[in-house]
């Protein structure tokens, strides 16, 4: 725990996903925008409640797929027709049918690597430290507890009022999160 000079927000701890979702909805209805939720597994619909928009990831991956595939098709065709033309068994130099397989493989390779990169860019991982790790019981967020955290950056944030608001939502515990 670091010193209390700076605060990240106020976190509320819930026992199940349903209460968390209900609380998140109420926090959004009350006008809070800078709200984060921490859950042990993927809770469907939670992101939408918190107003988190999906990124352009899939489109970037699709583009990477075509770039990889296009590049390698061109590459094979260039090498066989201009780079080092070599006739084997009388087969035509530009036998595009046999290039299709590696076109697919390299497209998939580009797409797979891009998919991983987009995820890391989107999540900001690896990030060894985050203030939420100072919240009470946060080590249960990977197994049995669900956390809702309203950050101090929220225009509506007021330490006492926000703490009271979260307490009214019926959590197991409310704690201040230092940074």
């Amino acid at each position: 725990m670091s010193n209390n000079n700076c605060m990240h927000g106020v976190a509320a701890e819930f026992a199940d996903a349903q209460s968390l979702k209900a609380a998140a909805q109420q926090a959004r209805d009350a006008g809070y925008d800078n709200v984060d939720a921490y859950t042990p597994y993927y809770v469907e619909g939670l992101s939408e409640i918190l107003g988190e928009r999906p990124g352009p990831g899939p489109y970037i991956v699709l583009i990477a797929l075509f770039v990889g595939a296009g590049f390698f098709f061109w590459f094979q065709q260039f090498l066989n027709t201009q780079g080092y033309p070599f006739v084997i068994a009388g087969r035509p130099l530009n036998s595009w049918q046999s290039f299709t397989i590696l076109t697919f493989e390299v497209g998939v390779l580009f797409a797979g690597i891009t998919a991983a990169l987009t995820m890391f860019v989107r999540t900001g991982l690896p990030q060894p430290y985050h203030p939420i790790f100072n919240a009470e019981n946060i080590d249960l967020a990977s197994s049995s507890r669900y956390f809702l955290c309203i950050r101090t950056t929220d225009p509506q944030f007021h330490l006492q009022k926000t703490t009271d608001f979260l307490t009214e939502l019926g959590p197991l515990n409310v704690s201040e999160v230092t940074c």
Partner: protein
């Protein structure tokens, strides 16, 4: 409930298969405790025993590898015309073992089959290690292992590149792509579970190690949606990829003008055989984990039953392949195809051929019966037969077909050497050592996914 169950259900209906079994886990917390406790408890004695044996095999592998790399491929019993021997037979065998992992983790994810969660993590780990084992064989088979980079299109001043019209070059890139995408897929799915391990660890340095591996995962909902989407995208590209890899290996043969190889059925036949043998390995490990680590509540009889049914399906496709091979010989009335079919079934190699038929086509028929599918011992025995049978199949395809080329004066038989035997046995060390380390240090099941299933099916609203 058991009587009504079906192997494949539409999305959202999968829950019925779980109801009949008493589960010791129904809340996310219990799932996490169960899976992580496997790692934090004392190492069982059988693990040490297996580890020592595997290390011994790994030592043999090092000896085999160095000998063949330094002294040359003449140590193997290969000759002309049997130019492809154990290097290729084992490449196909091991890469096939890997296929079930991707099939379970990617294809069944897209099909929304919840039961895959019980297998996906360790099957995917199996994929990684099996592909690593497989990838080394072609390098050994090259004979000049120090020049392995010649098969890759690396930049060089002469613009001299591999011949992209050859299936052998396709192999190298297909396998590399497969290994890369499998590793990414496996690791992305592992990140939240490494976070759970960090939270459950008691000692500081253990916490730090898992925390670093988890990259500081904190379970934020934004991160979950990113992970969820990435997993689906990777599954969508890994599914055609896994089909393509063994198809390319099938094409290595189908493209060549050798009796017994030049069949259009080879690519799909190879893919089915790969998933068939991979499922056999998955079942062996599943039974081992259930009894060895007390995970029968997480890997249930129903899960095993489903995987066994899948093994039966792929086995029947393989059986169809055997029929078609012989049918093609009879139907085309091609002299050399007929001669090969007769030699295969009645000649010197006949015991291997019939061993393959018995293992892959006859014994698996027992899987039609639920009593067999629910009997772990029987399943392990059948799976071992499948593994042996599938290895024999690759032997029958590679050296046996090569023994009967168009030039009849070249007809020969494969001559075994001790190095051939080592090439079969020793790679198990290279496979089992990382597999055993994996089961001691990383969660065997995807914790977050099992939690989700527990919530959805346990009725905890």
């Amino acid at each position: 409930m058991l009587k009504d169950e079906k192997p494949f259900r539409a999305a959202g209906q999968a829950s019925a298969t779980f109801e009949s079994e008493a589960r010791p886990w129904s809340t996310p917390g219990e799932v996490t405790n169960k899976v992580t406790s496997v790692i934090f408890r004392d190492t069982p004695l059988w693990w040490w025993f297996a580890f020592v044996v595997s290390l011994g095999l790994l030592g043999l592998y090092v000896v085999m590898f160095l000998s063949i790399a330094i002294r040359g491929t003449y140590l193997w019993g290969i000759n002309v015309p049997v130019v492809w021997g154990m290097g290729i037979v084992n490449l196909i065998f091991w890469i096939g073992i890997g296929h079930a992992g991707t099939f379970i983790s990617a294809f069944l994810l897209l099909m929304r089959q919840h039961w895959r969660g019980a297998f996906s993590r360790f099957a995917e780990a199996m994929t990684l290690f099996a592909v690593a084992v497989a990838g080394i064989f072609p390098l050994l088979h090259l004979g000049r292992i120090e020049l392995f980079y010649y098969i890759l299109p690396y930049p060089n001043t002469m613009i001299l590149h591999p011949q992209f019209r050859s299936p052998l070059v396709w192999d190298s890139l297909a396998i590399l792509t497969y290994a890369t995408v499998s590793l990414i897929f496996w690791y992305i799915d592992l990140i939240p579970d490494l976070g759970a391990m960090r939270d459950k660890a008691k000692r500081l340095w253990v916490k730090r190690a898992y925390g670093a591996a988890a990259m500081g995962w904190r379970g934020e909902s934004r991160h979950w949606s990113a992970l969820h989407r990435t997993a689906y995208m990777l599954a969508a590209i890994a599914t055609p990829l896994v089909i393509s890899v063994h198809s390319v290996i099938g094409l290595d043969f189908a493209v060549a003008q050798v009796p017994g190889w030049h069949h259009t059925i080879f690519p799909p036949f190879f893919v089915a055989g790969a998933i068939f043998s991979g499922l056999a390995m998955v079942l062996i490990f599943a039974v081992l984990f259930r009894s060895g680590f007390g995970l029968s509540g997480l890997i249930t009889d129903n899960h095993i039953d489903n995987a066994a049914k899948l093994m039966l399906v792929t086995g029947l496709i393989v059986t169809y392949g055997y029929l078609i091979e012989n049918f093609a010989a009879w139907f085309t009335d091609h002299d050399y195809e007929v001669a090969l079919a007769v030699e295969r079934a009645l000649g010197t190699y006949a015991p291997l051929y019939w061993g393959m038929i018995i293992s892959n086509a006859v014994i698996i028929q027992a899987l039609w019966f639920k009593r067999v599918r629910r009997n772990n011992t029987a399943l392990v025995i059948i799976s071992i037969f499948v593994l042996i049978g599938m290895w024999l199949e690759r032997f029958v395809i590679v050296p046996v077909s090569l023994s009967f080329p168009y030039l009849e004066s070249g007809w020969t038989t494969f001559q075994w050497t001790i190095w051939d035997v080592l090439t079969i046995v020793a790679p198990f060390g290279l496979f089992l050592v990382p597999m055993l380390l994996f089961m001691r240090f990383l969660p065997l099941l995807p914790i977050h996914e099992t939690q989700q299933v527990a919530i959805e099916e346990g009725g905890h609203e």
